[in-house]
Symmetry: C2
Subunit: 411 residues, 2 copies
């Protein structure tokens, strides 16, 4: 079996670890998280790595460099998924990192090599993304302990139930001087590589996202007896807002998505008294994104004034755009070139990645793999075996290129 086949077979093994019998769903601090960590840990050990679970629930493996205790080059991605997920978003990057560590296990490197499977990138359970990588970056916010999942379980409780000590989450944080840099392989989650007929690409920058929770409050009333002029229909207000968000984002050249809505009381013959929705906003640059949000917010408020609804807005996530480090991008480009592509395509990532959080403490570089039709966050997510094979070669060579440059740069 080729390394690519092994990686794809392991993606299939992880598929079986799901909270749902009918779809793939593996979220933060659940029994499925524990099982996925155990399985990834076994593969890391087989790749010759020393394995541990850190204080934030990330699964980590390390091999020393030419001497013990050297700074580490981190390779990683995440093991959590959205509900009804595909098999590759996150997992593929972790398994490629493990496979590359295994391939290089008898090569002496001028740094330690670490592989990390982040515990939470999607934010599907607590509505807050990048919890695993932010713990590693040391950018943890104490306010997050009160975040609640749909069953009203706080992040604090979930840590305890998982067997983690919330007071020790700081132990997961890494210092910049311990790190050489961070490389992540990931499916593109967009259609651009496929359109260019390319297997691989390098990321120039990761778009910053802002996320909001919007609560629209009107008044629940009888659906039959209440004339239109007396209605304060929260769902109608929310619907008008969702339509306006699309119109304004398209006009601004940004990407905004409302993916979640819940209404109360949610009965066929009762006007909705309350609607809660999520908004996710991305753009190539932070100023474009923030300008677009200002326009959207103004319009949402105007809709609520017209309909006599109350609007409560909470920003649940804000990540600045994260440009990749030039020397690491060059290493990724050099790696792609060894696979026969002389002009590797550079593209900006519309999706967020763990690398965004890690950019706070070290340089980042990212390798994108083509996926079919840009489909992601969906069971039809797919990658070709040939692209995984090229990706593994490119990723391995990128690590060796980082080693060369790191060696050259040392005094």
């Amino acid at each position: 079996m080729s390394t690519a086949d092994v990686v794809l077979a392991r993606c299939g093994e992880l598929d079986a670890i799901s909270a749902s019998p009918t779809w793939l769903e593996r979220t933060h601090l659940t029994p499925e998280h524990r099982q996925a960590n155990a399985l990834a840990g076994r593969w890391m050990k087989a790749a010759g790595l020393h394995v541990w679970q850190d204080a934030a629930g990330n699964i980590c493996g390390r091999r020393e460099g030419s001497s013990p205790g050297m700074p580490a080059l981190l390779l990683g991605s995440h093991l959590d998924t959205v509900p009804d997920a595909g098999s590759f978003d996150g997992m593929l990057g972790v398994l490629m990192a493990i496979a590359v560590a295994e391939r290089l296990q008898h090569v002496t490197l001028p740094f330690a090599l670490e592989v990390i499977g982040f515990s939470d990138e999607e934010g599907a359970r607590f509505g807050k993304a990048l919890l695993g990588s932010q713990a590693v970056a040391g950018t943890w916010d104490e306010a997050w302990w009160d975040l609640r999942d749909r069953d009203d379980v706080t992040l604090h409780q979930a840590f305890l139930e998982f067997g983690l000590d919330p007071r020790r989450v700081g132990d997961a944080a890494r210092r910049p001087d311990e790190l050489v840099g961070y490389l992540e392989a990931h499916i593109e989650q967009g259609p651009y590589l496929e359109a260019a007929d390319a297997s691989l690409g390098h990321v120039t920058t990761i778009a910053g996202a802002r996320r909001f929770r919007l609560s629209v409050t009107g008044e629940a009333r009888h659906a039959g007896g209440t004339p239109y002029e007396r209605r304060r229909d929260a769902l109608l207000g929310a619907a008008e807002m969702i339509v306006a968000v699309e119109r304004l984002a398209r006009a601004a050249g940004t990407i905004a998505t409302v993916g979640r809505i819940e209404v109360q009381p949610g009965a066929v013959n009762v006007i909705a008294g309350r609607a809660d929705l999520s908004l996710d906003l991305r753009a190539a640059t932070d100023p474009e994104r923030d300008r677009s949000w200002d326009e959207i917010e103004q319009e949402l408020r105007a809709i609520c004034v017209r309909r006599d609804l109350r609007l409560d807005l909470v920003e649940t996530h804000r990540a600045p755009a994260a440009p990749c480090a030039a020397w690491l991008s060059e290493a990724v480009v050099a790696g792609i070139r060894t696979t026969g592509d002389d002009h590797p395509m550079g593209l900006w990532s519309r999706a967020g990645h763990d690398a965004m959080a890690i950019a706070a403490i070290t340089g980042i570089g990212m390798l994108f793999l083509r996926c079919h039709d840009g489909i992601s966050h969906h069971p039809d997510e797919s990658v070709r075996e040939v692209d995984v094979a090229r990706g593994l070669d490119a990723f391995e060579q990128a690590v060796l290129e980082v080693a060369r440059r790191y060696d050259e740069a040392r005094p």
Copy 2:
């Protein structure tokens, strides 16, 4: 304590029987349904009625007329509620019926008097309204057994779990020759009596409603990576539909409400692949309502074509407008007159009622009580004690007026 005080205190007692600790929710075939039936049954017994639960879970009480086995005048309403309900919609009518039966317990009537607390009027659990009264009307549809609640429990399973035999649901059906007529007291659930400064009103006709379940299917995809031109966002389609429904219904002079929406997968960073929503449509007459639906359906289909979404439509409920029987309305009017209102207001009911279903087997008459600000299906639902007192007097006198007219009409 006045009879009105007793009735209001009993409304308060029923409030305690709820599936939720924070709001009132009592739906079909639940433990709360069983408790409410038991309590109402005790009150019926105290009013001198012979009590039984019928084959559809309705709680029934009967006293014979001047000789045993005579046809019955039915008085009733329902004991189930929407989620986060008020205390009076349905329950008030049942408790007023029990109180009137108690007041009349030593008066000899030319018919039997029956009180019925219907098991399901709102349709909150299975999305299908009037299940209790349709069983009594003998208009049960075998297809309903497959209706499912949110936990995927079928109506068939729920019957069994409640201790009812689905094969015997026909035993709940009444024959027209067993019945004299049906009278129901109910809060108005609209603002018209209050605006006219009237305690009571009589219903001329009950608007027919149609209800639909709409399923919009698009494609779940990554919220960041998917350009607008490749999106098939089910929630955006649904939002556009909700806005269009309001616009078209207002223009047609009908009332349409989308009270429920659920999206899949429902994650902050995933485009919705599917949205399921309810639509409730009412109008003064059936032709107006059906014309309005045809316009709405055409527009919903056009939206889905434009957005490359699939639309599945299921009609879950259709009730024709139910005019009240002239002689029973006249009895209700006569009853209201005895309370000092010489010109009782007549109005059409925008809301559906059990009386609609019962109209299939006997004449119906309805007494409306003023409620504050038209608020219903909401904890702020309220009635004044004085209106309940007048309502009880009017309802009692209406029964006596029915008796007089029934006596006169007999050969």
